[in-house]
Amino acid sequence: MTILSQLNSPVMYLICGGIIAFVALVCVFFMVRAWRAGVAIGMDKTKMKRAVVSSATFTVLPSVGILLGVIALAGSLGTPWPWLRLSVIGALHYETQVAEAAAEAAGLSGLNATEMTARAFTSIALLMGLCIMWGMILSIFFNKRYLKKLQTPKAGGPSSGGGFGDVAMTAMFIGLVSAYIGSYLGKFVSGEGLFTFAGPWLPLAVAAVAAAVMAVFVWLAEKKNAAWVESFSIAGSMIVAMAAAVVLNLL
């Protein structure tokens, strides 16, 4: 029995699938509680429904991207473990990097099936878990106090539910988006040498197409009173931009 067939065995699927099933149940539990609490405090059900629909449509395409991460790692780690890691706790940009570093630490020349052993696999799996568990640990010990502190209005300051909190959250998100857009620009302009403009231009073009399509959706929602398009605007923009990537790449 080869190492990959061992890593893809039903027992491995059972172990990983069991953990994923538990996390799915946790999500359902939290979702039902939140819905009931929302109804109990008099929130508009239509608003809650919109949040659920938009989140679902929003997630489909990035999830397909994450599925590619599973496929990429499945060649060396088998399918069940990457499936677990990318369904629970993991992050697409993180898993491949850490798996590669963990493989080197386990004595392999890199992440590949030919050198993989059962011992190397379990070591890599453990290291992948240890590296990224800190968000959960911090949540267990500090979430309650941290959020309480943030939500306590300062004397003389704006009360919760308005004020600078909202602006700060929006600003932080703008910072996040700016870092990524800036990185696409940097890769294009200096990716192949300072100011050579020979780096990859596709990410920048895709971002521009997505922004343009988003502008159309916003125009439809605001000027044509088609508010329903809002729920699908991000997913729609992404589909068109990703299709544009295929076309632009052929040019």
């Binding site: 609490a37 949040a51 997630t59 993991g90 070591s123 911090l138 600003a171 870092a179 920048l204």
Partner: protein, 227 residues
């Protein structure tokens, strides 16, 4: 139901959210760290703890710092329920944060309000479930799907999921907040152009970029002109 009843009801809900969130995180943590040992028992090869220790010193410390920064920055955006779920299910920057922000803006929920907490939890839970379902379907159909998903023609589409996401989000957030966006965008663009090696650390660069944006927003807020 009067406002006082609503408040006490929501506080009780929040208290239990922390309790259930902690329990869920602890159980998931035990399962994730325990899984390699369970698999090791099945495969007849336990993890090499010395190699794991070396690996952790080599790359784990960096990720630990990154996790701490992510926790500090994103927890206020996610709230209690959303926070626990997001840290359990992962994919924060490329999915959960934009998803929760989008849902929050769509229903115009304000930070720190019960409405924001409920919407954030619904959003993250939905997003996590959709990912779990898509990946489960994908794994079941892995053999027939593999040639399609890995076809060279479609590769540029899947390589550019994140630029597509951030392009759409950029328009949505920049259009009403250009005064806040200009400085971080220019600073980041300049930094990445002048020091291209930084593109390998984009997730770390979110911190200074966010700090600049918050600084600008604070100044504008003080002047009363922030949107």
């Amino acid at each position: 139901m009067n406002e006082l009843d609503k408040k006490s009801l929501f506080e009780a809900y929040n208290e239990r959210t922390h309790l259930f969130g902690r329990i869920a995180c602890a159980i998931t943590l035990v399962m994730l760290i325990g899984a390699p040992f369970v698999m090791g028992a099945y495969l007849g090869a336990m993890p090499d703890l010395a190699a794991v220790g070396r690996g952790f010193l080599a790359c784990g410390i960096v990720w630990m710092v990154s996790c701490v920064a992510e926790y500090l920055v994103y927890t206020p955006m996610l709230g209690a329920g959303g926070g626990y779920l997001a840290f359990i299910t992962g994919n924060l920057i490329n999915m959960k944060i934009p998803c929760a922000m989008n849902a929050r803006d769509m229903v115009d929920a304000k930070t720190g309000t019960p409405e924001n907490e409920i919407i954030s939890t619904l959003s993250i839970a939905t997003s996590s479930l959709v990912t779990i379902v898509v990946l489960a379907c994908g794994v079941v159909a892995l053999i027939p799907l593999q040639p399609v998903l890995q076809s060279p023609v479609l590769q540029p589409a899947f390589d550019n999921v994140v630029p597509a996401l951030f392009g759409a989000m950029a328009y949505k957030y920049y259009r009403g907040n250009m005064k806040i966006a200009v400085l971080p965008l220019l600073t980041m663009a300049l930094l990445f152009v002048l020091v291209p090696s930084l593109t390998g650390s984009t997730s770390f660069m979110v911190l200074p970029s966010g700090a600049i944006a918050i600084g600008v927003a604070f100044l504008l807020h003080k002047k009363g002109s922030a949107k």
